[in-house]
Point group: C2
Chain length 364, copies 2
């Protein structure tokens, strides 16, 4: 029953099979070095080249402008929640503005508010976190140190459209759950960050892309490990980085570039996958309710439930038996959730939609 499950988990999530096949080899021996990737020195020529190439691949795939730095960090997005105000909340400027659009952005605010007095510019609580605002229409404080939002709410399955013009350099986005799933204009942001364990690699590494002009604000009193400039200056190699997680991420980036054909192609595939699943949910609307309002449905995370809640449990059981794993909703809202990260194939989504229809026919 447990052989070879398809992984629809909210994260850590599925990685591409071709990458896993490479890793199967590298954990024993990296052909270039004759050593296991798990025992590679972070000062080795192999790793220094890997860091350079990974940054170059990210820059090419996302068309990152030259006046941005790219760093690979530890501590997940959660450490960023504190590091961002530590580094960028300018003393004397107005409090930073935060958008609270779901479970994840509430976590961001919980942590950030321990570091800095911040202001909530919008909160989706009244709608039960089923909708999102138009970012350009919000009552942003023009004097705020920065503006923070979460581009995709993993738990509720809400996604902002890509921002094309933020009209300022101080927009910061947590893109943990939709980074590298579509193109976006890096130049519209002051900073973008994402942990790897959705679309990029295993848990343990976080990517941050930071506009260099923001670095001037950083106070000189921060502990070096919590100062972005330390990691930028040492090219993500100040202390021992998570070598393995970075190597897997590098392989996922090459897969997007070479096997998929780039981020536009990746975005097309992701749009088709989401459209296929939402079409079936709409078809089954007499027995299934989606969580998100239609206009803000996420291509990455699809949260839904059966009107008869007993069917949710039954669905998870039978799906696991049929080889479909990780479909339980987040503990905070219950129900069901299918996560359609980059490595979840169209075939896998086909298996899920077929199973959903059959289940509804038999049990609902």
């Amino acid at each position: 029953m447990h052989r070879n499950q398809l992984n629809f988990s909210g994260g850590p999530g599925a990685l591409p099979d071709t990458v896993l096949e490479q890793v199967r080899q590298t954990v024993i021996e990296l052909p270039e070095t004759g050593l296991s990737v798990l025992g590679m020195s972070h000062r080795s020529p192999w790793f220094l080249r890997l860091l350079e190439e990974t940054e170059a691949d990210l820059r090419a795939l996302l068309r990152i402008p030259n006046d941005y730095s790219v760093v690979f960090l530890q501590g997940g997005s959660s450490l960023q929640f504190s590091m961002i105000p530590m580094n960028f909340a300018v003393p004397g400027a107005a409090a930073p503005d935060y958008v609270t659009s779901g479970y994840w952005s509430r976590k961001v605010v919980d942590e950030a508010s321990r570091v800095v007095a911040m202001r909530t510019v919008w909160d989706g609580r009244e709608s039960g976190y089923r909708t999102l605002p138009d970012l350009t229409g919000l009552d942003w404080d023009p004097r705020a140190s920065y503006r923070h939002y979460v581009s995709n709410e993993t738990v509720e399955g809400l996604q902002f459209p890509a921002v094309t013009d933020s009209g300022g350099s101080q927009l910061i986005a947590d893109m943990s759950s939709d980074f590298m799933s579509r193109t976006f204009d890096v130049g519209a942001y002051g900073m973008v960050y994402a942990h790897a364990q959705k679309n990029l690699g295993p848990a343990g590494v976080t990517v941050a892309i930071i506009r260099n002009a923001l670095l001037d604000r950083i106070p000189d009193t921060l502990p070096p490990m919590l100062d972005y400039r330390t990691h930028i200056r040492h090219r993500s190699n100040f202390n021992t980085p998570p070598v393995f997680a970075i190597d897997v991420m590098a392989r996922v980036l090459r897969w997007i570039r070479d096997d998929i054909g780039g981020l536009d192609a990746m975005a097309d595939i992701n749009a088709r996958k989401a459209a296929a699943l939402y079409a079936v949910l709409d078809e089954l609307r007499e027995v299934i309710v989606g969580h998100a309002q239609k206009a803000v449905r996420s291509t990455m995370n699809v949260a839904f439930r059966f009107k008869d809640s007993r069917l949710d449990t039954r669905f998870i059981e039978l799906a696991a038996e049929a080889g479909l794993s990780g479909l339980n909703g987040h503990r905070s809202i219950g129900g069901l959730r299918a996560s359609l990260y980059n490595a979840v194939s169209e075939q896998a989504v086909g298996r899920l939609t077929a199973f959903l229809k059959e289940f509804a026919l038999r049990h609902a």
Copy 2:
């Protein structure tokens, strides 16, 4: 030339072959779950059980008393350098005391001094960091918040004997490069910490063992990610932990327990390995100089150089051709270094000593 090198790197270092063989399987599919370990949710029953078992194995192997907490963190030892003073430097108490015995402990002091006014109770600079003090004889300030030292200097190859009675609860040790290589009395410490990438697993996870009485000191103003109590309360699962690195660490601990037979047996093997290598260095003393004074020689890292420094480069080249990798000394002191972490076998050390003797005979 690059096939199947033996890894004598200072870290990340070698891992046991049997563990690597298991990982070769788990990256494709964990038999218990039908999913790749790289895509396992940190909220899955499998991972929750793994966290419990890993802590239990550590507790059993080290005989950790019940009034200590065990947590798995990100950010390497380097983040601990800042977190320790943030959490444990008591306002109003005397400055914490630090021992500076080599490259690594100088790094500790560099970082910690950015957070707190600290005092250096001993510095080995005059000896060129070739010797160590008797810890019990130092001029510790009895009112200091805590006392910090590094149990093994990775770069210079100096190792303190295991502390058996510190006479207080406030002794803190960075054991990154000799943790789990020998037994020690956890009860003699307030806190012990170690990153995984020497004797425990891949880079990306750090173990901290903290006496619970110390937790009362932690100020309530820290960002949650930087407050040890957050990670203790959430049993190392506050935010997404490095699932893969923890799973590999768990497998290394089982290897120590089941294949090696526990920490006493591990310590015996490590002592034999070091004795074998130092015996050859002593035998070759006309052409080779060891860095450390004899009384403080490390069992983990053996730093040495040829009297004719041109031979160092030649040695590294020919060793690599013979399948012996990672023998260059740290960039800060140059020369040569052989690291003999747990996963470096007695056979591997035998290959190294044989090669050393032959090289000296032919070239020195």
